[in-house]
Symmetry: C2
Subunit: 457 residues, 2 copies
């Protein structure tokens, strides 16, 4: 049996939902990051769990690799089908199956995007908080254990996925987790699938936590004399237990790009973007506290975004940070890093990284979900220029090594994919071998996103 | 090779820390619940990870069962060594290895109890929030995925264990998780061990989340005309997103026992015990909001416990709820149930359960961590009386079935152990088979707490 056999059977079963054109294969060969493209042999568009089950059955019987694909916004090469086979595009499974308003949860198909869900929820007074910036699919976000700007308050996909339906490599369909908010009933399979990057099963339905839209929201920016002052303010804020909803760091280079792209007019120095959620008085109190903290660390005062449209503009600009950077240095692409360290080591991590950037001579604006100890560089390079690529790899490597040395992780939220697989042994030690045993148990033929997460063969 | 071989080798290696006296074996044969006692062949007292590794090696080579034992406070028979072998008492591994104040985490050995940790933390301004009532060990709490009175605000052991060191059945020592607050680096092994009840490995070190002691704390009780009114008030409070720290339900029978035991003088009707954490104004605001909500549902007003000693007295009485019940009906033991449902179904679950109790003729006071949808009965029976035991089993079964029918779980926080194993298939369906495969992968000889969680042989 071979991939050709798989394609024949899939084509017969799925007709025009099994696409093998060059154009389509090319489209699914690459992601937003710098990884070398590899074409799938076909792209499949399931409409239901039963479709997924049938596809997995055919692929299992023929040994055909399956790489699940959500919105294509991941950054570590997760969706590059490095062993060929099929790309399984989940985007047509995009129904919001149920919103349980009283329980504050929603049951969705994996192709639902976070914006789609939040649009749908608008009238309910609830929202889905996890916000990685891009309009990612909920399935993809679960698969990569995504987080983003307001994880500091509402948690990551680890906390926000309550349950999931999964098609396993042998065609079994299982449900992991439940809608009850806690349970001690057995192994936490749901949390095992979250972050497994399509290597243990294909998620076909997810139950996610929702939260009440806050009564009061206020957003502000606060510039600082130094990077260290900004980071120390974050550390103290977190240590005080302030329930800040967003606390984002941007360096002067990032602001320069943002001002040009989003016409923000924010002074170009180390800056925090903040958002407070709560009651009117709670929000005011948080802002006052933060004002006191930042003043002790060279904070230059708040610029408030009081009207809703100003707030939206601020966070739209934050989300467009990378587009701003790309527009500023046309022809270059971002080589994105993703460090996360215990917050006590954050100032050290950022300052040393800044020094590395300076020495490298590369352009590398920095943003960070610093309330979680997480920050990113977008190292802007011409990927066709081997010297720049090599320099970026060296800088990225230094960031990853430092994360581990400081007790952190090489990937705070982007996942392992192709980009971080080389660090898994160093990060996990003997536990990485256990992960490989789990992979073998779930997918002995290695047909689910082979070549990612674990090197089996 | 046999258990006798294991005992000989363990005895040689551990001398007086391998105890085989009848008295000791008897002590480790039973737990606080109703499960039939079974004696271990020996009790071992490791002092270090290396001791645990050596014990596991000997047990693996001889096929000797190992049942880990923390503080002995679990309620589902987890620690009853149903296949004999050794009880591994972790209580001497009770060092607090490190408190990282800036990062708000602590690294502890598994035998550290939650009170010990909180005593140690007192001067730091931090606290460990998970509070199941009993002074359980952190290792045991992690193993059963414990929670308790303030999980509604601070999460359960699922959320509060950041990392752990584990000795596997084959003697490997691994570390799962990290001190960074989030990570997308690989399968979430840490969450897999949390709640695995000593069936996948022996936890020898845990890193747990800490929180800042709130600036302001206020506690109150609020009586209600009806059970339904109390529960509806809880539901609305949760749905409003109020960050209430504790919201506990007690029925009139429980209050009667509590008044007698703890001299509380609280009117004997459906009652909520509440605690608010925050700033002075935040706490006042939460209390005011809750006052408005409860007034709409037949709430009879707060009785405040304003002084710290009154607060402590209130929560001490809540923690002693079961002792109060035992004192009220001497000679009887509690057959404890543990239902957790989505909060929209909580009123239904509680009211139907009350009706079941009435029909059964049994004495069964009710308490609940109702903010999570979780409630317990202490069905008071003479365990030597087969009719009472049978009636309690029938009532407990009705509660479990109802939990599943309402989309909940048969165990919100007590775990599976012996008591809930019979519901695992119904709760998890095909996923239970996957749990068995994981168990086989981690412990192919079935030496780790055999007979619990999964029926392998």
């Amino acid at each position: 049996m071979s991939i050709a056999d798989a394609l024949e059977r899939l084509s017969n079963a799925f007709q025009d939902r099994c696409v093998t054109t060059d154009a389509m294969r090319e489209q699914y060969s690459r992601n937003e990051a710098h990884h070398a493209p590899v074409r799938p042999d076909a792209v499949l568009f399931p409409h239901s769990t039963e479709d997924v089950r049938n596809i997995v059955e055919i692929c299992r019987e023929t040994g055909c690799p399956i790489t699940a694909y959500g919105a294509g916004t991941s950054l570590e090469g997760h969706i590059v089908p490095v062993r060929g086979g099929i790309s399984l595009d989940m985007s047509r499974m995009n129904a919001i199956l149920k919103v349980n308003q009283e329980d504050m949860d929603a049951v969705v198909q994996p192709g639902v995007t976070r914006r789609q869900l939040n649009e749908d929820l608008r009238a309910t007074g609830l929202f889905f908080p996890v916000d990685p910036g891009a309009d990612a699919s909920i399935g993809g976000m679960a698969a990569t254990r995504a987080s983003g700007t307001n994880a500091v308050r509402y948690g990551t996909m680890r906390e926000c996925v309550l349950a999931c339906e999964v098609v396993l490599a042998d065609g079994r369909v299982i449900r992991a987790g439940s809608r009850s908010r806690k349970s001690s009933a057995g192994y936490d399979l749901c949390k095992l699938f979250v972050g497994s990057e399509g290597t243990l099963g294909i998620m076909t339905e997810l139950t996610v936590k929702l939260f009440g839209q806050p009564e009061a929201v206020s957003s502000a920016t606060c510039g600082f004399e130094t990077v260290e002052g900004a980071v120390q303010s974050v550390i103290e804020t977190i240590q005080l237990g302030m329930p800040v909803a967003r606390i984002e760091f941007l360096d002067e280079l990032q602001l320069q790009a943002m001002n040009a792209y989003s016409k923000m007019g924010i002074p170009e120095r180390p800056t925090l973007f903040l958002e407070f959620h709560g009651t009117d008085s709670g929000v005011a109190e948080q802002a006052e506290r933060f004002g006191e903290i930042s003043a002790e660390h060279g904070g230059l005062g708040f610029e408030w975004a009081t009207r809703e449209e100003d707030r939206n503009r601020l966070w739209r600009a934050r989300h467009d940070a990378y587009y701003g950077v790309k527009a500023m240095w046309p022809g270059k692409r971002g080589y994105i890093t993703d460090s996360c360290v215990p917050i006590s080591r954050l100032a050290e991590a950022i300052l040393e990284t800044k020094e590395d950037i300076r020495k490298s001579g590369l352009i590398a604006p920095m943003v960070g979900h610093v309330g979680d100890g997480n920050f990113h560089l977008a190292i802007m390079i011409d990927p066709e220029n081997p010297d720049e690529l090599k320099a970026a790899e060296k800088l990225s490597h230094a960031v990853a090594e430092r994360s581990l040395r400081l007790g952190g992780t090489v990937t705070g939220e982007h996942g392992v994919g192709l980009g971080k697989i080389k660090y898994m042994e160093a990060e996990h030690g003997a536990a990485y071998g256990v992960m490989a045993e789990i992979k073998r148990t779930f997918d002995p033929q290695n047909i689910l996103n082979p070549g990612k997460m674990i090197s089996l063969n």
